[in-house]
């Protein structure tokens, strides 16, 4: 029943995160039913009856202790299963970013996302850089690399539809990436308490189709040159 509550996934790596969530969901659901079921059955079955004494079982030694140790061993195995599945997914999202096709810098400050586009030359710190607050324009099916910064306190960039979150800390620079699989407009709430304007600190991710994106680029940088150099980012 909870599976439907996750927002629609529109990223290429999100499906894997969702599948681990599903794995955990079914394992924990099964454990819940088995353990709470046993509890309820035992409680009803062994309720006080006149003339009936409780059994004397300490459970400290085998074979009784096996009733403790075997389920515990099973828990350990399931735990390791979840961890090993998780390790691969984590590495893909956070450790091994593919080369980015669009590079954009996002800076959190009380209480906006400053979004900086490198412009047609593909480099930051040149006159054609363009800053638009709270609007992150990208093209569908392209690997977007984000450089993340903060100007004041800790914020957290959260893209629920893309299964992406990263805290930004003043004085440091972080890298994140995503590849959106579907055009649309998605919200970017700040997820770390950052002061009195934390509530309502929200940007928008606008995922364009390839044609729309080219059109948007032409509107922002009316120059004739190619909008962005691809694959030459650091």
């Amino acid at each position: 029943m909870f599976l439907n509550w996750l927002p629609e996934n529109v990223s290429i790596h999100g499906a894997e995160i969702d599948s681990i969530f599903h794995l955990i969901y079914y394992i924990t659901l099964a454990w819940f039913i088995v353990t709470v079921g046993a509890l309820i059955v035992f409680a009803l079955l062994f309720r006080r009856r006149d003339g009936q004494r409780a059994a004397y079982i300490t459970g400290d030694r085998l074979p009784h202790a096996a009733w403790l140790l075997i389920p515990t061993a099973l828990v350990l195995m399931l735990d390791l299963w979840i961890d090993f599945r998780g390790g691969d997914a984590w590495a893909r999202v956070k450790l091994h970013a593919p080369p980015s096709e669009l590079q954009i810098q996002v800076t959190g400050k009380q209480f906006n996302w400053e979004i900086l586009y490198p412009g047609p030359d593909g480099r930051f710190g040149t006159p054609d850089d363009l800053q638009i607050d709270n609007e992150l324009h990208v093209a569908v099916n392209r690997v977007v690399g984000l450089t993340l910064k903060s100007k004041d306190v800790i914020h957290s960039l959260y893209l629920p539809n893309l299964r992406l979150q990263q805290n930004v800390i003043p004085g440091r620079e972080f890298h994140a990436w995503f590849q959106a699989t579907k055009p649309g407009v998605f919200e970017i709430p700040c997820l770390e308490l950052c002061g009195f304007g934390h509530s309502g600190m929200v940007g928008h991710l606008i995922v364009h189709t390839a044609e729309e994106y080219d059109k948007w680029v032409k509107e922002q940088w009316p120059a004739p040159s190619s909008p962005l150099k691809e694959s030459d980012q650091p």
């Binding site: 969530f21 459970g59 009784h64 805290n167």
Partner: protein, 593 residues
Amino acid sequence: MGEGTVASPVKPPQGIRPTMSHRARVDPIRLPVARTAHEDRSFWRTYIFSTDHKTIAKQYLFLALFMALLGGYLVYVMRWQLAFPDTSIPGFGFVGPETYNALTTNHGTIMVFFVAMPILLGAFGNFLIPLMIGARDMAFPRLNMLSFWILFASSLVIMSSFFVPGGAAAAGWTGYAPLSARTEYTGVNWGINLWLLAHALEFASFLMGGVNFLTTAITMRAPGMTFFRLPLLVWQQMTASVIFLLSVGPLIAGAVMLLMDRLLGTSFFVPEQGGDPLLWQHLFWFFGHPEVYVLLMPGLGAVLEVLAVFSRKSIFGYRWIIYSTISVGFLSLIVWAHHMFISGMDPRLAMPFSITTILISVPIALIVFSMILTLWKGSIRFTPPMLWALGFIVMFILGGLTGIVLGSAPVNIQVHGTYFVVAHFHTVLLSVVIFGSFTGIYFWFPKMFGRMMNVPLSNLHFLLTLIFFNLTFFPMHAVGLAGMPRRITNPLQYEFLQPVQSLNVYITLSALGLTLAQFLFLINFVWSIVAGRKAEDNPWESATLEWTAPSPPPHGNWGDTIPTVYRGPYEYSPPGVREDFLPQDLAPSARSD
């Protein structure tokens, strides 16, 4: 039996004649303490500045219940605001975002440090450790009194912080720097300073308490009370004390550094001058996560005692639980960074911490299995404490399992910082703080106050709490999965949260029901203290030592002799004995004829 008479420790079960042998031993060192029970003490020394561990335990309990009302009031304002944003809240008025942040911050701080710890450690630990091990008081009674009064001062400090210019602390109960380190980021100046001061006093109080607990439990056990005859609650209070003592030091250092950043302009956590905001998070969570287990352990202990008594069965796997408890204590010290998967720490650290985090579920699972297996072939009595204990197990399993979702690093990316976290830690922590505490309070109330609580009212309180608890926190998981951020003032500011707003209203109404249900307890509690039926010494027919003292026990707990211990704490329904329990202090020779 009157105060000061030589107490018969327990009414011997029929057919078993107690010998005098185990009563003949008079402890010359402890005798004078017992005699003080006869002396007239002033009102102040008896009820206010008392060194009696039982009085101090009650003081912790009363303080915690008062602070719970305050923390509950804060959450009432918060939930109303979330359900009906920017409307006037009955009994409060409009709440702005600055005030809202102060409410969340102090709700967390008050509930963890001024409600949960005083009840589970302060009240249960103080009341039960000496009584359960057969000691006349704590090892350091005056230090014990000082611990309470420092906590009292600390609670005055945290309450006064609401009335200083700029208002109370508003940087979250986790106080992440640099938000908490510079006044201009929150607009709160003295609020955060006082918040830090309150923590400092709180930690000093529980540090002294922890030293006292450990010293008492290790050095003052009655004759025959070996470590493996200790009730599990004592083991768990000891483990909690050790974890607290080991983990709180780094946070005290951190709090001093943060205070210096604020008052002296140093820069331990402010990056512009070379500080590191992540250092604060490491120091905070190095304490903050073990703290969860510091709270859990005494709750588990209370539940285990109750399960054995009302199943009339030995705890299944007593020694395994002790080993698991120690393992949990150790593991709890190496899981802290699971709060920081997406904080910006080296991402290669995520998997090691994910593994330790999920591994801690192994010894915890063993304890849960043991609780369930204790019921197997028991003779279960559904008394109020037993209902709370069973409720605890169910809620604790639910809260523990959702922790696996958060403990998995990749899934954490999606749910970190959302209401899923809020739902998880309220389920798991309140299973301890609500269900665990009430298990203990309903169970030991007769010993504490010498009277019984009203049973139908207790049962109704349990039923309504169980229902409203789940109606409140279960849908919160869904809101969290939908992505609702923590600590926001107004969900209507987000388009993607519009579909869950009806759930927010529903959660708020359920939370109101949960709060109102607690007044049933308060009425029962106060009424029973004044006019409850007088309790016998051992109304639940329990085998542990606290029930061998009179109800309520006098200063010094036992008459001229302290009990001698002959067996483990859970000898229920042993073969070859007519009665269905053997008190720990019943001499073996009494059984032979």
